[in-house]
């Protein structure tokens, strides 16, 4: 029997269109695999076997761009009536009364939502270790982290526990786990995908995006979820191209910039080598590669760790025990706030709420928040300058391959530096993809990041697809 669970969505689509594969067969195989593997990987926090099978039988899921295709959603994306917890105790028992816009669009195109994926609590983390459900494991080495915060989504795609997944990316939360799990992860331009129904971490940085087995699937999934939404006034009213059409195998004459600030101290030698080799590959495929400078890169992490916690401290204020989720039983109101939040949030969430609250306080606001916003403008200006000369920029996605579970858990700063290469795209609102570009000596995946100017997702897909089709990295599977 064919291993349907290992197929890409675009291949399944073809087979289903020809009537050679039934959605229910894919689901049966997939759930059998989840039952077998997930106790070890722990990518799922909710597995919706019965509902998924019912959905597959529903005529509605026989039509659309993703008809019958299983999709796993990160646990911070609301699905009507389904537990959505952000991997936090504070949202225990919360079932949203509405669908996120992306969930609505997936359903409308026939996709089958198979469950919810583990994540760092409220997306605070780069390792999936801050989840209240415990860490997800990297399918390539289960003693390693899968990256984060969309670690569950990336691990599930890598382990063939789902065909496609959605993650969210605030500082690298799609791209970094995609790189560490050897899959494709894309953060679209800020405003390209509606955030309505995504439980906010940092509103000005968050974006939902695809995590898939190859570039073609990423293009397919983005085509479905992208587009203006009147429910999200930060979404942009621009037509959505059919990204699948941008998958040309051609980078001849494409101008690629390689920022020198991304290849400095702290980068793992094997990552450095793999990404440089990938850049050589682009040259051999006809691209014009040149070193560039993005001088404000070094301030990105600092600025990010002011803006993101500041917004988070306000976004998470609503979790107070009044309307939904956890409520600590107490005598009075103030006590209820304190106990509910003390019991409900994990340490990293508390750390970020404190950081953000401090940064926004009278007397510190100008020195931190305003300054950070100015840095943001400078970083965006660096990119604008670069994109006036170059079509895209290539960098490593993460300075290192996956690290051991627990290795950075006690060192927040080391953890924060995991996102040093991915944060600038969020601060500048740019689209960026991570695709596999190599493996370490111990067999761990290495990812490369391709960035382009706002709304130039097509350029990114073209470059990524050309590279992918010229290499075999995406075809390798972990030994499970």
């Amino acid at each position: 029997m064919e291993k349907l669970y290992s197929f890409t969505a675009h291949r399944l689509k073809e087979l289903m269109a020809k009537g050679e594969v039934l959605p229910s067969a894919v689901l049966d195989q997939l759930f059998a695999r989840v039952e077998k593997l997930d106790p070890g990987i722990r990518a799922f926090v909710l597995s919706n076997k019965e509902k998924a099978k019912a959905a597959a039988d529903n005529p509605a899921s026989k039509r659309g761009k993703l008809a019958g295709i299983p999709v796993l959603l990160k646990d911070n994306i609301c699905v009507k009536g389904e537990a959505t917890t952000c991997a936090s105790r504070i949202l225990a028992g919360f079932k949203p009364p509405y669908d996120a816009t992306v969930a609505k669009r997936l359903k409308a195109e026939g996709a089958i939502l198979i469950g919810k994926a583990n994540m760092d609590e409220f997306a605070f983390g780069s390792s999936c270790e801050t989840s209240c459900y415990g860490p997800t494991r990297n399918p390539w080495d289960t003693t390693c982290i899968p990256g984060g915060s969309s670690g569950g989504s990336a691990a599930a795609v890598a382990a063939d526990e789902t065909i496609m997944a959605l993650g969210s990316d605030t500082g690298g939360s799609i791209r970094q786990p995609a790189a560490l799990c050897g899959v494709v992860g894309m953060k679209p331009t800020y405003g390209r995908v509606s955030r309505y129904g995504l439980i906010a971490f940092a509103s000005s940085l968050d974006q939902i995006g695809p995590i898939t087995k190859d570039v073609e699937d990423a293009a397919l999934l983005l085509s479905v979820i992208a587009g203006y939404d009147e429910m999200d006034s930060t979404s942009v009213d621009l037509p959505v191209p059919d990204y699948s059409k941008s998958l040309a195998r051609d980078v001849k004459g494409m101008r690629i910039g390689v920022p020198k600030e991304y290849f400095i101290e702290g980068i793992d030698k094997e990552v450095d080598n793999s990404v440089r080799a990938a850049i050589e590959k682009f040259k051999s495929l006809g691209a014009a590669v040149k070193e560039i400078t993005l001088p404000h890169t070094e301030y990105a992490v600092s600025a990010y760790y002011i803006v993101a916690p500041a917004e988070a401290s306000s976004n998470l204020a609503r979790f107070d025990g009044v309307q939904y989720g956890l409520r600590a039983l107490t005598e009075d109101m103030i006590d209820m706030y304190i106990k509910t939040r003390s019991q409900g949030f994990g340490n990293e969430a508390k750390r970020r709420i404190l950081l953000g609250t401090y940064c926004l306080s009278t007397g510190y606001y100008d020195a931190y928040y305003i300054k950070a916003q100015k840095v943001r403008t400078k970083i965006r200006a660096d990119f604008d300058r670069a994109f006036s000369e170059f079509d895209c920029i290539i960098t490593p996605t993460s300075p290192t391959p996956a690290f051991k579970i627990g290795a950075r858990a006690g060192d927040p700063l080391a953890m924060y530096l995991s996102d040093v290469y991915t944060i600038p795209a969020n601060l500048a609102g740019l689209p960026a993809i991570s695709i596999p570009c190599g493996f370490s000596g111990s067999g761990l995946p290495i990812g490369m990041q391709i960035l382009a100017k706002p709304f130039a997702e097509e350029t990114i897909f073209r470059a990524a697809y050309t590279f992918e089709q010229a290499t075999d990295f995406h075809k390798r599977k972990p030994n499970l």
């Binding site: 919360f94 949203p96 940092a202 509103s203 429910m231 006034s233 930060t234 009044v322 309307q323």
Partner: protein
């Protein structure tokens, strides 16, 4: 005469009467079942996002223009962070450093004539919170989120108000203008208009401001005036006694007629304002402002001016009649049919307003339509009824909704203006009351009044008084 000068600034929160809430599609209807007009957005559910109600935005611009404000070129919202169970997100969407509009003014009439300009520092948009309810004897509180997310405007004056009476006059004028714009029902009892005040004293001639006290919990314009009067006295006597005024928030207790401390400045919260990332700042299009400006109605001052010129009304009458848009509309509708504006004004400001006040009614729903009043006044002029009769007919028309002509017909109230008929009655009375006739002729002028009374009695009050006078005099040989 006090040695101190009172300095007052007012902050008005105005609920805009839009069809839907500020950032979601929920209805804004008042007095509905608790938590029946809510959705994930106004409940602040995880993942929900606000989107600005265009009507609320237009209303805000309307108010800003009517208050002579400058309009910001960029609209930006901020978050005001604080914890309270009636605020589901634990932050309020408001505007901090870039209010929608600023630098406006209202002119109020001052005692002894002339105007005083009260500057308006800012008018900004924000969202309302829900309502906490504390069940009697219960150990818990309940929250009604229906009001949550209703659009509010905050209208803040400069410290230009010099007395509690000026504060009252400012509020009256503000309400008058807002009424013309039809953007809010401005009802303090329903909470659609709320007013907080800042008040401080300083020695006469001193330029620096004294320490201010914020006054809250006033439930009517009169309450604002009384609260401020009390607070001005309290501060004056404290200063006279050598005490220091502390910066604090005090609550007005209307029943006890005094204020008490709620919190001091040290206990005040840090709201950690920052730009609302869920609402993208946008540039206000010039065309939109022009369009809203063009849609502004004639405002009370302009209308009063026109009433003075077109109808020859006094300043006072024009002021009263234009103070409320519906009253002004009523007057204008009436004089279209009945052109004697002064008479119409007197009737409206007298009997009509008395009836409205007595019933606490809305003039738009008054059973006596402007055309009916005009008809009534025309009947007086034609002599068909007397002024005295008109008052009774007016009262009945307001009570029953019947037309004045119908009332006259039905009750046979028509005035007797038939000279021959009156002549007959006069002659009759003169015969009966020969003594009075001789008294009158003997110089007792009061007897004339007695004779008129007798004639009116004979006609059961229906005789045209002017004709009675004329015919009686003629018959008495004058």
């Amino acid at each position: 005469m006090s040695a101190y000068e009172t300095v007052i600034g007012l902050e008005v929160h105005l609920q805009l009467a839009t069809k839907t809430k500020a950032f979601c599609g929920c209805s804004t209807r008042f007095g509905q079942k608790p938590n029946s007009q809510v959705c994930p957005v106004c409940l602040g559910f995880p993942g929900s996002l606000p989107s600005l109600n265009e009507e609320a935005f237009r209303f805000a611009i309307k108010v800003a223009l009517a208050l002579n404000c400058r309009i910001q070129s960029l609209v930006k919202f901020d978050r005001k962070n604080y914890y309270y169970p009636d605020l589901p997100k634990n932050f309020q969407i408001s505007q901090y450093d870039m209010p929608l509009s600023y630098d406006g003014f209202i002119d109020i009439a001052v005692e002894g004539g002339g105007n005083k300009r009260i500057r308006i520092k800012r008018v900004h948009m924000e969202e309302d919170a829900g309502k906490l309810m504390h069940p009697e004897g219960g150990d818990h509180s309940l929250v009604d989120y229906n009001r949550c997310g209703m659009p509010l405007l905050e209208i803040v004056t400069a410290p230009d108000i010099g007395s509690p009476q000026e504060a009252y006059d400012y509020l009256t004028k503000l309400k008058s203008i807002l009424g013309y714009l039809r953007v809010s029902d401005c009802d303090m009892e329903k909470g659609s208009l709320r007013c907080d005040a800042n008040i401080s004293l300083r020695p006469k001639g001193e330029r620096r401001l004294g320490t201010k006290v914020e006054l809250k919990n006033m439930n009517s314009f009169k309450g604002v005036r009384s609260g401020l009067e009390y607070e001005a006295r309290r501060q004056a006597s404290a200063i006279t006694d050598g005490e220091k005024i502390i910066q604090e928030t005090r609550l007005w207790d209307a029943d006890r007629g005094s204020t008490s401390s709620m919190r001091t400045k040290e206990e005040a919260e840090d709201y950690r304002y920052f730009p609302e990332p869920d609402l993208v700042p946008f540039v206000i299009e010039r065309d939109l402002i022009d369009e809203v400006r063009a849609s502004l109605p004639e405002l009370p001052e302009a209308r009063a001016e026109r009433f003075r010129k077109a109808f020859g009304l006094s300043d006072y009458d024009a002021g009263v009649l234009t103070g409320q848009i519906d009253l002004a509309d009523y007057f204008e509708a009436c004089v279209k049919i009945y052109p004697n504006a002064k008479v119409a004004a007197n009737w409206i400001m007298g009997d009509v307003m008395a009836a409205i006040n007595a019933k606490n009614a809305d003039i738009r729903e008054l059973a006596l339509a402007p055309a009916a009043l005009a008809a009534l006044l025309k009947m007086i002029d034609s002599g068909a009824i007397s002024g005295k009769m008109a008052k009774d007919i007016l009262a009945e028309a307001i009570e029953t909704g019947a037309g004045p002509e119908d009332i006259v017909k039905e009750k046979g109230l028509a005035q007797i203006s038939d000279t021959a008929a009156i002549e007959a009655v006069v002659r009759n009375v003169l015969v009966k009351e020969a003594k009075s006739v001789s008294d009158y002729k003997g110089g007792k002028k009061a007897a004339f009044g007695f004779l008129v009374g007798q004639i009116m009695r004979e006609t059961r009050g229906k005789a045209n008084p002017a004709l009675v006078n004329e015919i009686l005099k003629k018959n008495l040989g004058e």
